[in-house]
Structures are given as structure tokens and as C-alpha cells.
Amino acid sequence: MLDNLLLGLAAALHLKQFFFMTLGTVIGLWVGVLPGLGAPVAMAILIPFTFSMDPLSALLMLASISVGGAFGGSVTSILLNIPGEASSAATSYDGYPMAQQGNAKVAMGLSAGASMVAGIIGVLILMFASAPVAKASLAFSPAEYFALAILGLTVVSVAALGSTVKGLAMGALGIAISLIGVDSILGTERYTFGSVYLLDGVSFVPVMVGLFAITELIDMVIAGGTIAKAGKLDGSLWKGFWGTFKYPFVLIQSTAVGAFLGMIPGIGATAANFLAYGIAMRSSKHPELFGKGAPEGVIAPEASNNSCIPTSLIPALTLGIPGGVTSAILLVAVTLQGLRPGPMLFTSNPELVWGFFMGLLIGAVMATLLYLVMIPWFALITVVRIELMAPMLLIITLFGAYANDRNMMDVFVAIFFGLFGYFARRHGYPLISLIIGLILGKLAEGSFAQALMISDHDYSVFFLRPLSAAIFALCLILVLWPGVKKRIGHGGAEAT
């Protein structure tokens, strides 16, 4: 372990990695401040820029965007009562009242302190839990991998806002899109209709650019205007930062909530944010102060969403099953760099894996410093006119899709998925399920076929192995539970 830590430290303490981490954090802070334009959008736009980078720089830059986004998301929550990121929504409950009381900078300092501590603890959990999980996953057979892929998709679909059936349909759509191209088992052409472009399948990059960036752009163009009239900051940033440590119980409790929820695919930082806030309020001696500018009301949501980000990488890196949008995008970046997530990643690329972990650790401190130093400037971004910003983002986004493979078809694919994603999201179809289906499609089909080959086409292999049977049972419970709960509720209501 110590050898790996030193190896990772040596890899991360490189000037080049510092540069890309700083760049990623600054971009993350910038997009985090802008409501609607969250870290996933920036990560999707910038994925094509990572092709010519080495894998560690690419991963650290993308992960830094995610961390910076979580930090920046709190700014507009506190200043304007408009969450920059969904995962910072609960921060506004007490952050905004603090700003109204003339303590905006104190609230931001609290947010920075909580985010830094939680981020560091989250990365430490990622470091110490990943290797054992990766080792345990070596015992999994293809049947278990197939069951895990279905579980990942089910949890994401159930956890996503809106209807579970719509989530599952989007997951199936993602898997179905992944079937286009040459079949990985027999090498048979499927759904290509003679197109050379489709032989390699539909690339992740244009789909992600379309679903995350173009859909947001459409919303931005419709909304227009500016986010705020002026970015005004009062109070003392450092007073807030050190004030975080006056509430160690809330800090640790909320970090633990976020770290635990991060490890479960599909739950994500938004749920962690609200849950940690609720728990902090219930466990407080003065719950009546919550919603009126209580410091714990800022610490709890910020600690939970920042500890959630690193731990959501545990299932992604060890099993290849992304837990949320940002880990899905990071997983795509790993794949595009020619690497395969899973236990082999830890043994064949220890320098990359441990360098990435150490980089995240350094990044948590770096993001805090950049946040404290640069936030007054970032607050000014909220006054930039969307009418001028939207066309710039459109150009960068679609040119990024083109640069993926120097192919105009990728631009049209991105546009198609952007328009489809806009209408799908309007009607409550979770886009994350489609992306996760697309990512898991190859894993699901490969393990499905391998399991059947090993068992001589005996379909009971998925249900006779205890672990895969248990995972499938869990999937079934997850899908049926909302309906059962509703029925029990109705029964109870009728009885009374």
C-alpha cells in the first residue's frame, strides 16, 4: 500500500498534472457557478480535448472539473438562492438566509471548509476500499457481471427522478444503441445498413455531448437573460472556513452519509445533499434554526456532496459500473484512453490508478484554495449575457464532437441526441439511464454470452449461482418496491 501511495504521489506531483488539475478546477468552479451548466456538461464538452493528453492528465482534469463544479455550485445557492448544481440545492436552505443577513462570505467559507474535509475523507475511502473491492471482483463469473450490469442500470433507473419504467426504457435504449456495429462475440455486422460509420458502433462522445451539452444549451437559449444582476459578497471568507471545524460532529456525520451513498450506483450527490441536510437537522439541538441561516445547514449538504464524488468512483473503477453522470463520463474517458476498468486496471496500471487517487487528494486542497481566492471573480460570471455565451458554447461543443473522430457524422449524431434528449428530459425520461445503458451494453452482452457458453446455453446459470441470483432478486425488489409501497399506502389509507 505504502509503495502504491508513493508511486501515486510521484506521478501526481508532476508540473503537468498540476496544470491540468488547476485548469479542471477553474473550469469546474466556473461551470458550477452557472446554473444549468454543471460539471457533467463541461466534462462532456471537454472529453475530445483529452484525446491527445496522457491518461493521468486526462482523468485528473475531468475529475477536477467534477470537484470544482461541486465547490462552485454552492456560490449561486448562497448568493442567489439558485443552485448552480442540483447537488448544491440543499445548501441554499441556510446559505441564502446567511447571505441575506450579510454573511455571504461566511457561508462560502463554511462551504469551502466542509467541502475540503469531506473531499479528502472521500478520496481516502476511495483509496482504501477500491483495492479490496477490485480483488473481490476477481471471484465474479460472467453471470455475476451480467447481473451487476443489470443491477447498475436498475438502481440508476429507480433512483432517477420520474417513472421507473421510463428509466428502464432509457436503459434498454442505451443498451440497444450499444448493439450497433460489429458484434464482439462473432464479429457479425448488426444494424449498420452498409454504413462504414456505423461499423465501429455509435461513439460515446457525440452521444454524451448531445445528451448533456446540447440539451442544456437548448434550455439556455430558451431562458435567455442573465443569471443575476450583480455578484455581491459580504462577510469574511476565512471566518467561515475556520468556523467549519466548530461543528465536527455534523461534518463527520454528513461526510459519512455522502461517502456511503456515493458507493451505491445511481443515488448520487443530489440525494446525499438532501439526506445529509435532513439528518443534520434531526440530530441538531436547535432544529428550529435550520432554514434561518444555521451554519450546520451549509456544512451538512456541502460535506455530503463532496464526499460522494470520490466514492462514486469505487464501483466505476473496480467493476466498470458507473454510479452517476460524472463517474460515467470518467469511465468513458478511461475507455477512450484504451484502458479497461476492473480489477486488472489496478494491477496493470498502478501508477495511473494511484496517481489518480493522489491527484484527487491534492485536488481537494487545490480546489479549496482556488475557491477561496477566486470566488469573488467567479460571482461576476453570473452577470454575463446568455445571448453571447450560448453561441460560443454551441461552437465549442459541436466542434468537440467533430474532433472526436474528425467525422461530420459525429456532429449530426450529437445534434440528434441533443434534440431527442431535450424532449425526453421534458417528459421525465432520465438521460443518465441511457448513458449508463450505453456504457454497460458491451459488458452486459459479453458477460451474457460468456455465461451461456460456459453453461452450454443453460439459462438457469443466472439464477442458480447464489450471488447472481441474489443480485437479480435485488433488481426485482427495486423495480417492484415503489408499486408495492404505493399499494400498501392505498390499502392503509382505505382501511383508515
Binding site: 475530445p48 480535448f49 484525446f51 491527445s52 417513472s163 419504467v165 421510463k166 428502464l168 426504457a169 434498454a172 435504449l173 443498451i175 440497444a176 448493439l179 458484434d183 462475440i185 462473432l186 457479425t188 448488426r190 444494424y191 446540447i214 444549451l217 437548448i218 434550455d219 437559449v221 430558451i222 431562458a223 435567455g224 449575457r385 446568455i386 445571448e387 453571447l388 450560448a390 453561441p391 460560443m392 454551441l394 461552437i395 465549442i396 459541436l398 466542434f399 468537440g400 467533430y402 474532433a403 461530420m408 456532429v411 449530426f412 450529437a414 445534434i415 441533443g418 434534440l419 431527442f420 424532449f423 425526453a424 421534458r426 417528459h427 425520461y429 452486459a444 452482452e445 451474457f448 454470452a449
Partner: protein, 166 residues
């Protein structure tokens, strides 16, 4: 059911129909494939068809009075159709211009036309921002992405005609 709710409901049905057609296509085009290549597509396509039928059943059995309205915070509900069309068509129009005329023309057109279509009043500011942005992106993008800027079908044809030796 008012007109807004009706058009929202029609959108939903169109979306379900699109998904159903896609999954039906996955099943139909899988049938001629060898057994091992068609098995998984049939499973996924079949599951997709069942799921879309379940969504359709919910939508079609819903009483007309219960048809949901677009979300209250939906910005599309508050703007006029010119802004809505601008939002929907800006990306396809940019894609078309990029394909036909290349990066510089498409970018300039987007930077000049989009703010005007979004009712931004300061024309001089639009022109200055457009020129600066396009120049900066034209210089930076090939360097950052390690890719030459697309000249478009028309641009390539012109280069072939005017500079046949290049």
C-alpha cells in the same frame, strides 16, 4: 384538457412511438442474424417493446383531465415560438453550415445570428464579440484538439478549383 396540455401529451405519445419503433426495429433486424448474434438484441429489443407498451398503456388509459401539464419551471412554456425555434434549430443549422461551409463561416453565422434571434439589442457588441471569438477559436481549436478546422463541402470544392495543386 387545454391546448398546452394536449400538445404536451401528443409530444409524449410521439416519444413513446419513436421508442417503440426503435425497439421493434432492433427485434426485426436481429431476426436474420446468426443465433449468438441475435439472442441479446432479441432480449433487449423485447424488453424495450414491453417497457414502451407499459408507458403507452399508462398514457392512453389516463383520463383526459389527468393529463399532466409541462413542468411549472419549464422555460419553454413562457417564451414565444421564435425563441423556441431558435433554441431547437440553432444546433442543426450550425451543423449544416459546418458541413457545407466549414468552421469559420458556421461559427461567424452562429455568433452573429443567435444573439439577434434571441433579441439581444447591442449589435455592435455582437459583431465585436463574434469576430474576437471566431479568431480566438480558429487559432486555439486546432492547437488544443490537434485537428485541422473543417473547410466544409463547398470550401473543399473551392480549394480544389482555385488551388488544384494543394
Amino acid at each position: 384538457m387545454n391546448a398546452r396540455a394536449r400538445s404536451f401529451w401528443r409530444e409524449e405519445i410521439a416519444l413513446v412511438a419513436l421508442l417503440f419503433a426503435f425497439f421493434a426495429g432492433i427485434v426485426c433486424f436481429a431476426l436474420p442474424l446468426p443465433f449468438d448474434a441475435r439472442l441479446f438484441p432479441l432480449v433487449i429489443g423485447g424488453a424495450g417493446i414491453l417497457l414502451t407498451l407499459a408507458i403507452a398503456a399508462v398514457e392512453l388509459r389516463r383520463p383526459l383531465a389527468d393529463v399532466p401539464l409541462p413542468p411549472a419551471d419549464d422555460p419553454a412554456a413562457t417564451v414565444g415560438w421564435p425563441r423556441f425555434l431558435t433554441a431547437l434549430l440553432c444546433a442543426p443549422a450550425f451543423g449544416l453550415l459546418l458541413w457545407l461551409f466549414g468552421f469559420v463561416v458556421a461559427s461567424l453565422a452562429a455568433m452573429l445570428a443567435m444573439p439577434i434571434l434571441m433579441d439581444y439589442p447591442h449589435r455592435r457588441q455582437i459583431v465585436v464579440v463574434a469576430i474576437v471569438t471566431v479568431v480566438v477559436l480558429t487559432v486555439l481549436c486546432p492547437f488544443l484538439l490537434d485537428v485541422s478546422l473543417p473547410r466544409g463541402v463547398v470550401g473543399d470544392w473551392l480549394v480544389d478549383k482555385l488551388f488544384p495543386d494543394i
